[in-house]
């Protein structure tokens, strides 16, 4: 059946002699949010990168809509938004230009789409400044605007709330809730509790190796 959903089956991954992912299995369906927790070095980022298809697990497989993602990696990536702990921004470009190139490579978008997304993350005059001059929290907000623009059902977020103030953390919560309400899926690696009043968040604890 082609039910939209992500499944990880018995994932094992070694880095040198460290066994980072030990038989990790998970399942996520439309509208669900999964929060990954675990101490530093427990493999949260590695798991996200494995689920994204960037990293090959030694054992196990990842399924999207019932199909192994390796079968058609590009089709899977078109459904996926991955934002790592560093926002993928060029410091010499403005937030607007950054979004135009970063998101534009994937999907068609207009200047007003970009402005609307930047409005939503609370960008004021600084949207015209070079990213080099922005604070870490502002950069994070630009990355969130990018996430908002991407029409991808699956979000893999690595520490999406880093460097954000309280209002920014609530913004992340709102974005995730809106995404889940539209039928999207979110896996987020976060240290502290996400503020999601309307959602039941599933948790997954990764043990340190």
């Amino acid at each position: 059946m082609s039910t939209l959903g992500l499944r990880g089956e018995g994932l094992h991954l070694w880095r040198g002699d460290r066994h980072i992912l030990r038989d990790v299995s998970l399942e996520l369906r439309s509208g669900e949010v999964l929060q990954l927790t675990g101490s530093n070095g427990a493999g949260k980022t590695t798991l996200l990168r494995t689920l994204s298809g960037l990293v090959y697990p030694e054992e196990g497989r990842v399924l999207w809509a019932g199909e192994d993602i390796r079968k058609d990696l590009r089709a899977y990536h078109a459904q996926l938004a991955y934002v790592g702990h560093e926002p993928p921004l060029k410091t010499d470009l403005t937030p607007r230009e950054n979004l135009r190139y970063w998101i534009g490579v994937r999907q068609r978008l207009t200047a007003s789409d970009i402005d609307r997304a930047l409005d939503e993350v609370g960008a004021d005059e600084w949207r015209e400044r070079a990213v080099r001059t922005l604070s870490a929290g502002q950069r994070r907000r630009v990355a969130l605007a990018g996430l908002k623009l991407l029409a991808a059902p699956l979000w893999l977020l690595d520490e999406p709330t880093t460097n954000l103030d309280t209002a920014g953390q609530e913004l992340v919560g709102r974005l995730i809730e809106a995404h889940a309400a539209r039928g999207g899926m979110v896996i987020a690696a976060v240290h502290h509790e996400l503020t999601l009043p309307t959602l039941v968040v599933r948790h997954m604890q990764l043990a340190a190796s």
């Binding site: 059946m1 082609s2 039910t3 939209l4 439309s30 509208g31 994204s52 298809g53 960037l54 990293v55 090959y56 590009r74 089709a75 990536h77 078109a78 459904q79 996926l80 991955y82 790592g84 560093e86 926002p87 993928p88 921004l89 060029k90 410091t91 010499d92 470009l93 230009e97 135009r100 190139y101 970063w102 534009g104 490579v105 994937r106 999907q107 068609r108 029409a151 991808a152 059902p153 539209r182 039928g183 999207g184």
Partner: protein
Amino acid sequence: MTVTRNETVDTATTFNASAATPALAAARLVLARDLRLAFRRPGEMLQPLVFFAIVTTLFPLAITPELSQLRVVAPGVVWVSALLSSLLALEFLYREDAHDGTLEQYALSGQSLTWLLFAKTASHWLLTGLPLAVMAPIAALALGVPVASVTGIVGSVAVGSIALSLIGAIGASLTLGVRRSGVLLSILTLPLAIPVLIFGASATSRAIAGEDYSAPLYLVGAIAVLGITLAPLAAAAAVRISLE
């Protein structure tokens, strides 16, 4: 069960995949981004060109100001300087994109990574190879070559630098995981670049002598075509490995 299926249909329409950027438009955006970045900080782009200018002007000082003798070494001087300056420029090809996560996003974009890296290499050539092809005849004229040979020099350096950019793309992608990659990059790239140097310099010296230079130029062209077809594939594979 029926409910789940309805939900699936809704989700599929909410996340409209038909709005995906066509491959050509995606390549144009990659190109536009790189060009804009280069013009926002021109120093990086100028560095290999300044290097080329310095090396070619130092030769007459070191050898002899006698034009008849300089004319003999001109092809070699121009080509060795061009090769070294293109090596110098390679450092910048992927380094920053790897560092700030741009390559990662390219790999996850749903577009062909090979195609996007081809666009990146094209922008690299426009920023380093093409200016070199413009500067080469100026340097050669200063070394006393006849004006009639300018076309041949521009042609051979332009085609040769396409080949060098593509060969360099393989080297640059393979050394992404290495911290101080300069030396390793040169060792990897130079053996592959030697045929370009030999035939490129041969085309240039024939052009200077006023002979037919098409045979060596075609060979350089063949290497460039081979590079266009194979180098982006190899670079994409290497970039994927570096992202693991």
